[in-house]
Symmetry: C2
Subunit: 354 residues, 2 copies
């Protein structure tokens, strides 16, 4: 017997590599390519550093109210956390507390099964159909909860083209909480926020890490019914009362308020994405119609792993998942135009030699 | 049946009140009364705000290395988290994964049973003796783990006056992890960091929220054997890979490096504490010999709850716990000298009327 027998053993999530060296073109963790809003500079200058000796507000106020204002919901319907991973992990711990399996797609954000494992939540992975779409009927049966990433990762596919898709799942599952993970939703036009007005069992989760260029500050949030949010806060207060630093609260508000910059840079990114789709097609890549800030692509001739390694040699990092059904795909984050130009040149070179 | 049947119900920890109004003398949450090191100003000015679009390092580097350097241990022996509550909660989740009860004192940091409840960890509260001290023999029997706050909260008592106390518990429990929560240790002279060199089953947890005046930035850390730290990081990466914001990492390093300011302000606080002990004694208070930045005191005549309410009327907030064995005590955080002077005047007034 040893203390090691009492340790919770897990297979940890492996985040995308954060290269130490400079001049890497980093298209592997879906970060936003443009800097955070320039208003941040002013916010930094105005920091009330003396107040940092005091604990922050446990609800993340006044950031919570600012998010509520932005999305036109009361603050009591907003939960804030240390990135959407913190928010989702708290939602799993709070809402998926039964013996029945939680349902999610076989190909989706790879943290869902990790959280289920660490919190001992039973789960079932539902295969996407052959077009990598979800089949809504699969989610209309007994379960312990449902989690859906939309747009999905790493495919970039949005199910919102079927206008009834989400509502039928939420409505059909009054006995479960349905979490819709909208980390990439600002690059699409498919938020299901409206469902939170009508149903008390749906939770929308979003993040500042992608479209708001603020991965470094760790801010995520959820919007739902007041009752849902209260349950989440009860659990959060039982884990760590003060998660949102004063810096995250102050700077988060500043960045959130610069709507013009947000809209302008998101539009720019979407334009780049659509341009790159055309260029990849010309290079014999096939891919899903991504509504996110990445493209999940496979090449007609060359193996994904080979391209991944060749790109890395040229200091261009993309993401490769060595997993069933997706091990011949690359997930390529949309970067600045000049980075994407360098990517295309590198790909042409690799393909011509391959 | 409703989705609410699948919700994890908890009795959440209630943090000390964070008053919205100004001019309150806040002696209720053990915050440090002096501002963070003035070097913070320079760090804020030098912030590389453009980098905030990128995820931070998942290990909290380079803050982790800076802590290692400060405490003369390798970075691989350091774990950083969002305040010591995050660190402790991760340690509970990681190390207390058995059917045997985790042991801690009946009067100690009130989060321990909350974490045990939320993570479904069995536990047993061991009564302190009549002098409110721990009895080491109580911790030398089969258990699922041990957690000890030293100096203890809310009593302020340190067990380090018995030089063998901690080593005998650590040595006597090779099959369990022993966590020593040293949130207040800088106000004493009793860190057990040295035990981590000799034993692989002891974890020391400390925080920037008290002696480093940085509660608002949320930084805590643990030091232990490399193997312990690896297990903790595995679990942490399975909950939230990126917990430490770029701001917390940058500003944390700045504050940590200003050793002169740290030593000077801690010394000042200890002087205030010893002065206040004398003044409270003259006012007929009785208290333990606190080695922390607070005094846990009871009055010979007046009820603690009465004094608590009367002080609040005068905008002086202290902490009152409505719990067995301690419901006639007040926990008074040591503030700036001028705040303590006002407290003493207010107490004199209350006592003269009471």
């Amino acid at each position: 017997m040893s203390w090691e027998d009492k340790v919770r053993r897990v297979v940890p999530y492996v985040p995308g590599e954060q290269p130490k060296k400079r001049n890497v073109i980093k298209l592997n963790t879906n970060e936003f390519p443009y800097p955070p809003s320039p208003v941040l500079k002013e916010a930094l200058k105005n920091t009330d550093q003396e107040s940092y000796r005091l604990y922050p507000d446990p609800y993340g106020e006044p950031l919570r109210s600012a998010i509520g204002e932005c999305y036109k919901v009361s603050p009591e319907r907003v939960f804030v956390g240390v990135g959407s991973d913190d928010v989702l992990s708290m939602a799993f711990l709070t809402f998926f507390n039964s013996e029945k399996p939680v349902l999610f797609a076989d190909i989706t954000y790879s943290f869902y099964d990790v959280w289920a494992d660490v919190y001992r939540i039973p789960y079932e992975r539902i295969p996407l159909n052959e077009d990598y779409h979800m089949v809504k009927e699969d989610y209309l049966r007994e379960n312990g909860g449902i989690v859906i990433a939309n747009p999905n990762a790493p495919t970039g596919i949005s199910e919102a083209s079927d206008p009834d898709f989400f509502e039928s799942i939420v409505k059909g599952n009054p006995d479960s909480v349905v979490i819709i993970d909208e980390a990439y939703v600002d690059f699409s036009d498919s938020s299901m926020l409206c469902l939170t007005e009508k149903y008390d069992n749906v939770l929308i989760v979003q993040t500042f890490s992608k479209s708001r260029a603020f991965a470094g500050m760790r801010i995520g949030f959820a919007i739902g019914n007041e009752k849902l949010i209260k349950y989440m806060n009860d659990v959060k207060f039982s884990v760590n009362s003060y998660t949102m630093s004063r810096a995250a609260i102050e700077y988060g508000i500043a960045v959130l308020k610069d709507k013009d910059y947000f809209e302008e840079t998101v539009k720019k990114l979407i334009n780049s994405r659509e341009r790159i789709k055309k260029e990849l097609k010309e290079l014999d890549f096939e891919f899903f119609d991504s509504k996110a800030n990445f493209i999940f692509a496979t090449h007609k001739k060359l193996k994904a792993e080979y391209i991944f390694k060749e790109l890395k040699k040229q200091d261009i990092y993309v993401r490769f998942f060595n997993k069933a059904r997706i091990d011949n795909y690359l997930r390529i984050t949309i970067g600045r135009d000049e980075d994407m130009d360098r990517l295309i040149i590198a790909l042409k070179d690799i393909i011509s030699k391959g």
